[in-house]
Symmetry: C2
Subunit: 459 residues, 2 copies
C-alpha cells in the first residue's frame, strides 16, 4: 500500500466532480472574455531565463528552471524556465508577432504558471491564471481601464461570487502627491507605504522617517493619503483637503475619476477608490487594481493588474502601452473548495445510461445513443449486457447520472432517478430537464456553483 | 530591434486566428468525450522523477527535471519533473484517489506534456495531448476496446479529417503466435518486428536470425504474420493459413474479431486489422491501436494506445486494467497548419462593433452591448468616440469582424461588412448569421476547419 506516491505539495489536483466545476468556471471566463472581443492566445509555458528575469523584482527566486534529466546539455542550448506569470510571455509574444497582430490587440490567456515557492494558503506551485490585456500603439484608450474591472466583476458574479472588493488607484496620484510634497524618491516611498497592511501605519511612518529622512509632518501626509477610500469620486475632495498639489497628481485624479464614473453602475461598494493600493511591481504607471474576497479579508488578493507604458515596447523601441488584469483562478477555486462552498455536481458528464441486456440488439442501442448525442445529450450504453439491471442502475446512481433509459423497439422509456418518474420518449428529440443536470445548473442566469456563506463571514 | 527574443524551437505558438481553430478542436474533443460519458481530470503537470521513471523504456532521456533557479535545494525536497505523457499521471492519480472514484472510471485529459527531445517534424518539446482511458476493477469490458477508436474517428471526422487509418492489433495474437512457433522471448521478437518500417522485412529477418538464433523458416513465419492486413475479419483466415496455433493466439484472434465486428459500420478502410502493429511500450497486454494520416503516410503516428493490465494496479496491489487512446493534438494541428490546410478564421471572437461617436450616449451604448451579450453575441463598443467612423470600420475589417452597428435611439442598424447589406434591428433579439461567423462555421454538422487536399496526397 505504501507504494502509492504521495501528492506533491503545492500542485493541486481535484476529483472529477470538482474538476467539472473548475471547467465550468473556465468556460464562463472564456465566454465572458470573448463576449467583450478578447481573443485567446497561448504562448509556450517556457521562456528563456533571461526573458523572464528582465522583469526584475527578485522574481527569479521563484522560477523553475528546466534541465534534461539524462541528456547532454549543449552549450548553445538556451537556459529555459517555466513562466511564473502570463504577462511576461504575452509581452514577448506581442513583440515577436508585432507585424502579424492588429491593434489594439485584445487578448486573454487561461493558462498555467509555476512558482517554486513554499506552499501556503492561497499560494500554489502550479496554478491557473485568467488574464486579459489590451496593448495598443502609442496610447491605449482609457475605455479599457474601466472595462477591465467590469469584465472581472461580471465573471465573478456569473460564477456566483458577489462579495468582492475591487480596489482601484492610480500610480500618478501617489507619485504626483509625493512630488508635491517634495519627496525625492517616490518609488521608495511607495514600497514602504505598500507595507501598511503588514506593519501598520505607525510602523510605516517610522520607516518613512528613518529610511528616507522625511520629517514627521511629511510622513504623516503620506499616511493621510494612503488612508483615503471612497466608493465614488469622493476621494477627490479628500485628496484636495490635504492641500498638496502637482500636475501629475491632477492627471492621476482625472484618470481615476474617469474609471470611477464609468463603473458607477456596478453595485455600491464593489468598486473602491483606495489610495493605499500601489502594487509592488514597478512596471505599472497609471491605473492599478487589486481584488479581495469580501468574505475572507485576510485571504490574499484574488485578482490584480494595472496600466503599464513600457512593458511590451521595450523589445521593439516603440511605445506599446497596455492595461490588464490577472485573475487567480486556482487561488479562488481552491479557497472556496476548502471552505465547502463549491456546490459539487455529478462525477460524470453523462445525462443518461441506456440499460443493456443480453437480449438487446447492440447495434440498435448504439444507434439510439448516437441519435441522442446529435442533440447534445451525453449518453452511455451500459458496457456489460450481462450485468444485472439493478447494478446498472446503481452504477448510474453512484456517478450521479440523472437518467436511465430502457430501450425497446418503438417504446423507449426514460426514468428520472431523482424523482422516480418514468415516461415514454422519442429518442430523436428527448432532452434532459435542464434543471436536473449539472451542466445547465451553472448557466449564467442560474449561478449556483458557489454556495452562500453558511455563517456570516468576518467583517 | 535585435532585442526581441527569438522563439524557442520545439515550443509552438500560434497567432490568434490559428489559436481560435485550435480552441475549436479542443472544444470538439471535449464535447465528444463528454457525449460518451468521459469526465475531465487534470493531474498536476509535475511528478516525482521516480514515478515517471517507473514506466521505463528509456523515457528518462527526454524528461525535463525542475530546479529552482535561485532557491536553496533542500535535502527532503523530492526531485520533480514535467510529465512526458498523460498516462503515467493518470495511473498515479487513480491509485491516489482510488477510494473516491467510481469504477469503471472513464476519464479524459486535454493537457500539455513535455519532452526534451530534438524538435523535428511532428515532434515538439511542448505539446497538447487528448487522452481517454477507462480503468476498472478486476476486468475492463471489451465494449471499450471498440469504443475508443470509434470516439477518435468521430472527433477527427467532426474536425474535418476523414482520411485516417486506424490500425488495430492484439498483443496476444503476436505473443500467442510466437509461442506457437516455440520462440522463447516473444517480447524481444516484437521489438525487432517493430523495426519493419525502418529496416525493411529482410533486415528484420536478419536480426531475428542473428540476434535470437531463429531458423530462417521461423523468422520467415514471423514476417508472414507481420504482413497480414485486413479491413474486416479476413485476418483470421490469413493467420490460420500460416498453420501456427496456441491458446493465447486463439484468445487474441477472438478479441480482435470482437473489435473489428463492432467497428464494421465505420467507413470501409478506416479501420485495419494490422498484424505489424505492436507498440513499443511493454505495458500493453491486448488490443493496440495506431493511427495515421492517410494523406501523409510518412508522417508519424497521430494517435496510439491500447489495453494494459498492470499499469494502475501496481501501486495498490490490485488488478486495475484499463484501455485508452492518446491523440497528438499539437502534432496533427501543427502538420495541417504547415500544409496550409487549416481554414483560418477571424483574428477576434467579436461578432459586431458598435460604432462610437462624440455624440453617443456612452451609457446607452454599453447598455445595448450588454443586452446583446445576454444573447451570446460578442460585442465591442468601439473604444474611442473621437476616432473617425471610417477608421472604426477599418478596425473591424482588419480583425475580420463580420458586423458593425450604428446605434441611435429606436433605430439601430447593423451592417454586414461582407455583403454591405444594412438593416434595422432590434438589439434585444438580433443574432449574427450563423454562417457568417467562425464560431458557427465549425459546428459539427459543418466541419470545415480543415480544407481538403488541393493536390491529391501521395498514396
Amino acid at each position: 500500500m505504501s507504494k502509492v506516491p504521495k501528492p506533491v505539495s503545492g500542485f493541486p489536483e481535484w476529483l472529477p466532480e470538482a474538476r467539472r466545476v473548475e471547467l465550468q468556471w473556465i468556460d464562463i471566463m472564456r465566454r465572458t472574455f470573448e463576449s467583450y472581443g478578447y481573443a485567446s492566445i497561448e504562448p509556450a509555458s517556457v521562456e528563456e531565463v533571461s526573458v523572464i528575469q528582465a522583469k526584475g523584482d527578485d522574481a527569479d527566486k521563484e522560477i523553475y528552471a528546466l534541465r534534461r534529466l539524462s541528456g547532454e546539455q549543449t552549450a548553445d542550448e538556451p537556459r529555459l524556465a517555466l513562466h511564473f506569470d502570463l504577462t511576461v510571455p504575452m509581452a514577448r509574444y506581442v513583440a515577436q508577432n508585432f507585424s502579424a497582430l492588429q491593434f489594439p490587440f485584445k487578448r486573454f490567456q487561461l493558462q498555467k504558471a509555476w512558482r517554486g515557492e513554499r506552499p501556503q494558503e492561497g499560494r500554489y506551485r502550479e496554478f491557473t491564471q485568467a488574464d486579459i490585456d489590451v496593448i495598443d500603439q502609442g496610447s491605449v484608450s482609457f475605455h479599457f481601464d474601466a472595462e477591465m474591472p467590469r469584465i472581472v466583476h461580471k465573471i465573478l458574479h456569473t460564477i456566483g461570487i458577489d462579495n468582492v472588493h475591487t480596489n482601484v488607484n492610480n500610480r500618478k496620484i501617489i507619485q504626483g502627491y509625493y512630488e508635491g510634497l517634495g519627496i525625492a524618491d517616490p518609488m521608495k516611498a511607495i514600497q514602504i507605504i505598500d507595507k501598511i497592511d503588514k506593519i501598520g501605519p505607525s510602523g510605516v511612518q517610522q520607516m518613512l522617517m528613518s529610511q528616507m529622512g522625511l520629517t514627521e509632518d511629511v510622513a504623516q501626509k503620506c499616511l493621510q493619503l494612503a488612508q483615503i477610500r471612497s466608493e465614488d469620486t469622493g476621494f477627490i475632495d479628500q485628496i484636495r483637503a490635504l492641500g498638496v498639489s502637482s500636475a501629475l497628481l491632477d492627471q492621476g485624479i482625472e484618470e481615476l475619476k474617469y474609471v470611477m464614473d464609468r463603473l458607477s453602475d456596478l453595485p455600491k461598494g464593489s468598486v473602491i477608490a483606495n489610495m493605499s493600493i500601489a502594487r509592488g511591481l514597478n512596471y505599472y504607471t497609471g491605473t492599478v487594481y487589486e481584488g479581495k474576497l469580501g468574505d475572507y479579508p485576510d485571504f490574499p488578493t484574488i485578482f490584480a493588474g494595472g496600466r503599464y507604458e513600457n512593458l511590451v515596447g521595450t523589445y521593439l523601441n516603440r511605445s506599446l502601452p497596455g492595461v490588464g488584469i490577472s485573475i487567480g483562478l486556482t487561488r479562488i477555486f481552491g479557497k472556496l473548495l476548502k471552505e465547502g462552498r463549491i456546490k459539487l455536481g455529478e462525477k460524470s458528464p453523462t445525462h443518461v445510461v441506456i440499460i443493456n441486456t443480453p437480449e438487446s440488439d447492440q447495434n440498435e442501442l448504439m444507434r439510439k445513443a448516437e441519435l441522442m448525442r446529435k442533440n447534445s445529450v451525453n449518453v452511455e450504453v451500459f458496457h456489460e449486457p450481462e450485468t444485472k439491471t439493478s447494478n446498472q442502475i446503481r452504477y448510474a446512481t453512484r456517478k450521479g447520472i440523472p437518467y436511465i433509459m430502457f430501450a425497446s423497439e418503438g417504446a423507449d422509456e426514460i426514468k428520472n432517478l431523482e424523482t422516480g418518474e418514468q415516461t415514454a420518449v422519442d429518442v430523436a428529440s428527448w432532452q434532459p430537464d435542464r434543471h436536473n443536470t449539472y451542466q445547465s445548473r451553472i448557466e449564467p442566469s442560474q449561478r449556483c456553483s458557489v454556495l452562500p456563506l453558511a455563517v456570516p463571514g468576518p467583517k
